[in-house]
Subunit: 101 residues, 2 copies
């Protein structure tokens, strides 16, 4: 199942990395505990709307852009999930040997 | 402040209306109480990621599209919030009289 909090966490983390910010810096700026932000980034906790607004502020990212990025990630995942399993290329040990030869 | 749950609620409601579904029908299909869905639509409750997935299923709407719509609504609101108040056209009683003349 495509879970919003997992994709959201990945998008938040990607933006933090792009900005070259540490969890500690975002934590101080957004006034949210470091552990909590870390759990959100790993998709383990849901972020409230107020927290999301704080994080967007600390990451200097409008909420619209964050949601756009999450929407794109969801679209990619949905496409992968709707492709019948039989059409997905399966890489076996034999392939690895063949490609190495 | 642009709050995710308010825009999300509006987007969910818009989709339900477009599908011509009642709260009762979505409630039965998503297996979520009618009152809870109603609170989510009004932006009064945060929806968990699992609930969001259920609602998307009941509304026959991929999560990516829902988030795209919310992102668009957020972008419009952000633009409105960043326009300096002095540049917004103010319609006065005199304008109304002038345009009617």
């Amino acid at each position: 199942m495509t879970l919003f909090r997992r994709l959201l966490g990945e998008a938040l983390r990607a933006q933090r990395m792009e900005r070259g910010l540490t969890l500690r810096e975002v934590s101080a700026d957004a006034r949210v505990s470091l552990g909590y932000i870390s759990e959100i980034e790993r998709g383990q906790k849901e972020a409230s709307s107020e927290l999301l607004a704080s994080l967007c502020g600390a990451l200097e990212m409008p909420l619209s852009l964050l949601l756009h990025n999450v929407s794109q990630a969801a679209a990619i995942e949905e496409q992968l999930l709707t492709v019948p399993a039989t059409t997905l290329p399966v890489r076996t040990g034999a392939d690895v040997v063949a490609s190495a030869a």
